[in-house]
Amino acid sequence: MGISRKKWELTIWMTRRGHGTYMDDEKLVASVAGVVERVNKLICVRPLKTRFNGEVGDVVVGRITEVQQKRWKVETNSRLDSVLLLSSVNLPGGELRRRSSEDELAMREYLQEGDLISAEVQSVFADGALSLHTRSLKYGKLGQGVLVQVSPSLIKRRKTHFHNLTCGASIILGNNGYVWIYPTPTEQNEEAGGFVTNTEPVPLSDREVISRLRNCILALSMHKMLLYDTSILYSYESAFHHQIKDILKPEIMEEIIEETRRRILEQEG
């Protein structure tokens, strides 16, 4: 699905202008390139190239930038750094444990500057900053893997953003445009609550799958295609018989994207 840069011109009769539009000679024109959204009479244009505007319930992948008193600052590709409060994380010892001053002093042992985490948006502050929480076993610190940064508007909103792909790797599609690709974990380490990670070397076959997925996701994002598990899987299958490093060459990328588009249309039609 490509986004064209045509000027969307609509008559003003019985419509209300939303964000991303302006009036030009009694015609409603889009001021940004993006997708038109229509809610009853309200017409707005959601731009393609934008910072992440978080909503409650979004899954994000972020990087810790600061460790402050009782909270961490997380970079999530939004206008302001998001906040992860100490009371919003799962500490070892169970959920109902009271946060003591020892916990505050030991914050850096759990999450340091530079660590990657997956979290969910709990609420939005008045100034627009997001408040995150990792109060579930599927969220927490991320271990070995590869991060791919794409535009947030390319991530399709789905019921779940954690996928164990059939090709042999797992991905987390953060709504903020950060996609985390990692080897599928063989057994869950439940007691630690997601803070202990594996340092064993990842086998070569897994790493090949991860590299191929990374290049496919970059190819999809360069052609402005929506990212979700099916589109990523189709592009992986089209790219399977090419060499991993060739996927990013323009001619081969075109081929792969054409085939992915065709298969998606077939599946929908």
Binding site: G114, G145, R207, R214, I244
Partner: protein
């Protein structure tokens, strides 16, 4: 260089990747990314080239001016380099932020290119001790994505290889004793520089136990030290320089130089082919430029 915060585990996976010769984007340790070269993009220069290596974007323009030769080299021309780190490349280059990097790159370029072995400087001389051609080379960094030196050297070589519009001149002395410059009437009567010895720079970054060619910003953040090797098309090494704060073992330096020689020698032939193809298209070539 630019500050990229990297998770400890990402460093671990990168080190393991180099051990198995499979980097994050699927390349082997000696593979370059996709390179685009276009020449003659700036119309009022003697030679220009634009190189895109991954997301690194470099624009080089060479202007030939007549000037006085240097005192220690009276019968040779010279090259002058100026590197401009544009603020478009990254916010860190705002204002005077890019000056340090620019001078570092310019100094390395002087070492590599401004000597008799790389460029035939004698052909740039007009009158010994009086007049010579000075090639003012301006390098503009439009976008930074790692591996600046390699891209800059490719661009300089491409700009020098294009039919540089250095006209043939003759100095005439008239009755009053002042010298006059006489240009030939034919606008296409140009001096073409002998560029068979112009080297290409290969940057090798040490990551873990091995070294990689053409490192991205993430890989550069994991490496402690890098080695710059400039290699001619015949495989001769003209300059070796270490950059970065970490230490390198002498054995690994030797290995890195060998790799640099191999990779650098292989760079020249494809570049020459592409430039020959471009030249043969002549006026009918579609110029992509900056908008396309």
């Amino acid at each position: 260089y630019l500050h990229v915060a990297l998770l400890f585990w990402q460093q671990v996976i990168l080190c393991h990747c180099t051990l198995d010769d499979l980097r994050v984007d699927g390349r082997s340790c000696e593979d370059y990314r996709y390179v685009e070269v276009e020449t003659d993009v700036v119309s009022n220069t003697s030679g220009s080239a634009r190189v895109k290596l991954g997301h690194t974007d470099i624009l080089v323009g060479i202007k030939a001016e007549i000037g006085r030769p240097k005192l220690d080299r009276p019968n040779k021309g010279c090259l002058e380099f100026f590197v401009d780190c544009s603020a478009n490349a990254t916010p860190e280059f705002e204002g005077r932020g890019g000056e340090e990097l620019g001078t570092e790159i310019a100094n390395a370029l002087y070492r590599v290119y401004d000597n008799e072995r790389s460029v035939d400087l004698k052909s740039l001389c007009i009158t010994p001790m009086e007049h010579c051609w000075i090639l003012y080379t301006d390098v503009l960094l439009l976008q930074c994505d790692g591996n600046l030196f390699d891209a800059i050297s490719l661009a300089i070589k491409a700009a020098l290889l294009t039919p540089s519009k250095i006209p043939k001149v003759q100095m005439m002395e008239d009755e009053e004793g002042t010298t006059e410059i006489e240009l030939s009437d034919d606008p296409f009567d140009c001096v073409r520089l002998n560029t068979e010895n112009v080297p290409c720079i290969v940057t090798l970054c040490k990551i873990g136990q091995r070294h990689v060619v053409d490192a991205t910003l993430q890989e550069k953040a994991c490496s402690v030290a890098s080695l710059l090797v400039s290699v001619t098309s015949k495989g001769t090494i003209t300059c070796v320089r270490k950059i970065g704060g970490g230490s390198l073992d002498p054995e690994s330096i030797y290995e890195m130089i060998e790799t640099g020689k191999r990779v650098g020698k292989a760079l020249h032939a494809p570049l020459q082919d592409i430039l020959n193809k471009e030249e043969s298209l002549g006026k009918s070539r579609e110029k992509v430029g900056f908008i396309g």
